[in-house]
């Protein structure tokens, strides 16, 4: 896919991946072998009928391609951009065994963008059935559930703690990967369907689940996994140490990078981002766009980076240094408690564990100091307990909501997405939202 020129990316939050034009899409689509037993579909968590939509592109019927994708996925323009396709559909593509897999994600995006541009995204609702559902959280899981239920004639209200709807899609994933305009369009489509959004509404604080139960026939908890983890190392509270969530929220949600925004963002000149997932890459690349030196410090090696493959490539193109097999053990500070560096240990890879992932261990006596003046911790997140305050919804010892299907320990309350699985992916969160909607309908709630 064509990309924004490397030089243009510094100082700009414009989207990096530029998407296919018609000709490119047709060329790519024509490479599809239209397998009788398509493996790609099995690699997709929501089983989008991939060969069928690709065939429609080839036939020039992009509208039908959209209908096919939309049947399985509520947010194709988002998923086309942020799904880890190389681990899902594309990893199973026969073409990929000898050469390049079909760029399924890029084709999905092409179709979805066509639909957005040509306003094919409107949804139709059945007549109201008089039932009311409250959804907690407006990330991909909440939005999907809202759309599915509204289509079935439910009256849906989405409660969101922040001042904007979209969850991680607006506060976490940066503009240069997922333009906010796209999320906005999806939300507008839901509003047109009659879904109501109540912003600035932290459930557990302004209302509890018990309060909601008095007003609604069912509740769907989709409050995500928004709590940042810290390492617990010495001086981690020093000035200049931030969570990736804070950095990303200030930049994305509150637009620190825009001229007219008043949100200040603290910037070092020599920044270390600790971690290796999408969150770490997004934080590093966002900070790099302010023209600062950025190093990504990761315990394992490039091959184990959990972030999307394309993001890692773009990150390296943008001049971010990857420091592998390195782990901080202490934050070094000056007398004013400002970060002046990290004491780090070298790591080595060990055998693969049961999950097939290689472990790591510290190399004794390998300590050294690494100079920096800002540290961003991107070590993963856990669910926010706020929404279930004063409710009987059961959780496990990690704070994940316990469900059967999507049903919680409370008959009227359903849950899904990151709040149930811990930090995962957009597509899985979306799928859970769909499933919850189905279960709410099936249980005749």
């Amino acid at each position: 896919m064509r990309l924004l020129d490397k030089k243009e990316r510094i100082g700009s939050f414009s989207e990096v991946a530029l998407g296919y034009n018609d000709e490119e899409a047709l060329n790519e689509a024509s490479r599809c072998l239209q397998c009788a037993n398509p493996q790609c579909v099995k690699g997709c968590p929501v089983e989008v009928r991939i060969p069928e939509f690709i065939a429609s592109i080839l036939n020039g019927d992009v509208e039908n391609a959209y209908k096919i994708i939309r049947f399985s996925s509520a947010l194709p323009a988002v998923c086309g951009r942020v799904c880890p396709q190389e681990k899902q559909c594309e990893s199973k593509c026969i073409r990929g065994y000898k050469g390049e897999a079909i760029a399924i994600g890029a084709l999905e995006r092409y179709v979805a963008d066509y639909a957005l541009k040509n306003k094919l995204t409107s949804l139709k609702a059945k007549t109201k059935n008089g039932k009311k559902v409250a959804i907690i959280g407006s990330g991909p899981s909440g939005l999907t559930c809202a759309g599915e239920l509204a289509k079935e004639g439910y009256e849906v209200t989405v409660y969101e703690a922040l001042h904007k709807a979209g969850g991680v899609l607006v506060y976490g994933i940066p503009e240069f990967r997922l333009p906010k305009k796209i999320v906005e369009q999806e939300i507008n489509a839901l509003k047109a369907l009659g879904v109501e959004f109540v912003l600035n509404a932290p459930i557990g604080k302004c209302m509890t689940i018990e309060d909601l139960k008095r007003e609604y026939d069912a509740i769907y908890i989709a409050s995500g996994a928004g709590l940042p983890k810290f390492m617990g190392i010495e001086n981690e509270n020093a000035n200049g140490v931030f969570s990736a969530n804070e950095v990303l929220t200030r930049i994305n949600l509150m637009g620190s990078f825009k001229e007219d925004a008043n949100t200040p963002i603290y910037l070092g000149d020599n920044i270390v981002v600790v971690g290796g997932g999408n969150v770490a890459c997004d934080a590093a690349r966002s900070l790099r766009r302010f023209g600062k030196k950025v190093t990504l410090m990761y315990r394992r090696t490039k091959a184990e980076l959990p972030a999307r493959e394309a993001e890692v490539e773009h990150l390296l193109e943008e001049g971010i240094e990857l420091l592998e097999l390195t782990n901080p053990v202490k934050v070094l500070v000056d007398e004013d408690f400002n970060v002046v560096g990290l004491e780090v240990k070298k790591m080595e890879l060990t055998e693969k564990d049961e999950s097939g992932r290689r472990g790591v261990r510290e190399i004794e006596g390998s300590n050294s100091n690494f100079d920096c003046d800002m540290v961003v911790m991107a070590l993963g997140t856990s669910p926010n307990p706020l929404s279930t305050i004063e409710s009987s919804v059961k959780k496990d010892n990690k704070g994940l909501i316990i469900v059967e299907g999507t049903k919680t320990s409370d008959d009227k309350v359903f849950a899904g997405g990151d709040a149930v699985t811990g930090a995962a992916t957009v597509i899985l969160a979306m799928e859970a939202g769909k499933k919850a909607a189905r279960e709410i309908v099936e249980n005749d709630i």
């Binding site: 001042h163 604080k205 509270n237 509150m254 008043n262 004013d336």
Partner: protein, 288 residues
């Protein structure tokens, strides 16, 4: 958008902001706070709740203009972009009100710290708790809510740095000079004040609550900007607090965290927060 009913000067650079926010007011209790944004492009500012009326849905806040973000609030007329709350936990005294009947509590408020103190004392008085209050300000120009406070406290003491009204000197010296028995102290104001009050009450053996108000973004535990060290552990002021045991808070670490404003980058950051309004008065920069 939230409707503004009042946004008026009530003291030197101090304003009262009343808005219609039933979702905040419905479940609100003394000790909690809100986060407001003047416009969609504004910083999120935590503000203490000064009063609320459950029957009308009206929420009252008091703010001091200390920087560009609070300056933006002054110019608002009819509407404010966002008000979210009630955030944080209600006051420990309010939650365990039955334990405090017949006991004596002293509040020590510094500057606009008087705003969150007011609803707490009001609540305690409604439940027959004996409450005194010391209110310290730089000079009498900064006094607000004086009459209201007099009416709800058993004893109300004013202390000014320059002696322009009431006790001439610091709130800590004023507290010492009272030489009275108290079962609990609640200190709310600049971090430095809360530190010294807590040191004193430790000597005097009075259990002490402080209310911390560091920089915040979301107010729901999501960013970690508000983290503090309490009893050796990292806590988030927004969800674990804002109240903590004054004898366990690591004030020096909290004060050091404010040193960020002494660095070059920090200065620039503060300039954006505070604009030309920087006056060294809020205690954030450590100038004072």
């Amino acid at each position: 958008m939230y409707k503004i009913l009042k946004n008026e000067l009530i003291g030197e650079n101090i304003f009262e902001l009343d808005v219609y926010a039933p979702l905040v007011v419905n479940k609100c209790l003394p000790g909690q706070f809100v986060i407001v944004m003047a416009y969609e492009t504004s910083e999120r500012i935590p503000l203490t709740i000064y009063d609320y009326d459950k029957s009308t849905g009206i929420l009252k806040m008091i703010y001091q203009v200390v920087g560009a973000s609070t300056k933006e609030l002054v110019d608002l007329d009819d509407e404010i972009y966002s008000v979210v709350g009630p955030l944080g936990n209600p006051s420990e005294l309010v939650m365990n009100i039955d334990e405090w009947k017949e006991k004596k509590v002293i509040f020590v408020a510094g500057g606009v710290g008087i705003a969150p103190v007011y609803p707490q004392i009001k609540y305690l008085k409604e439940h027959n708790v004996k409450v005194d209050c010391i209110y310290g300000v730089k000079n009498e120009k900064y006094l607000i809510l004086e009459e209201k406070m007099k009416n709800i406290c058993d004893n109300f003491y004013i202390a000014t740095d320059d002696g322009s009204k009431g006790y001439h000197g610091l709130v800590t010296d004023c507290l010492k000079s009272l030489d009275k028995h108290y079962d609990k102290c609640v200190a709310i104001g600049p971090v430095v004040m809360m530190k010294y009050v807590s040191m004193l009450t430790k000597d005097l053996n009075i259990p002490t609550i402080v209310s911390m108000n560091p920089i915040m973004v979301d107010g729901t535990g999501m960013c970690g900007a508000c983290r503090l060290i309490v009893d050796g552990n990292v806590k988030f002021a927004c969800v674990d607090g804002p109240e903590f045991d004054g004898h366990k808070v690591d004030f020096d670490a909290a004060i050091k965290r404010m040193n960020i404003y002494k660095t070059f980058e920090g200065r620039k950051y503060l300039e954006r927060c505070e604009g030309s309004m920087h006056h060294g008065n809020c205690g954030n920069c450590g100038d004072k």
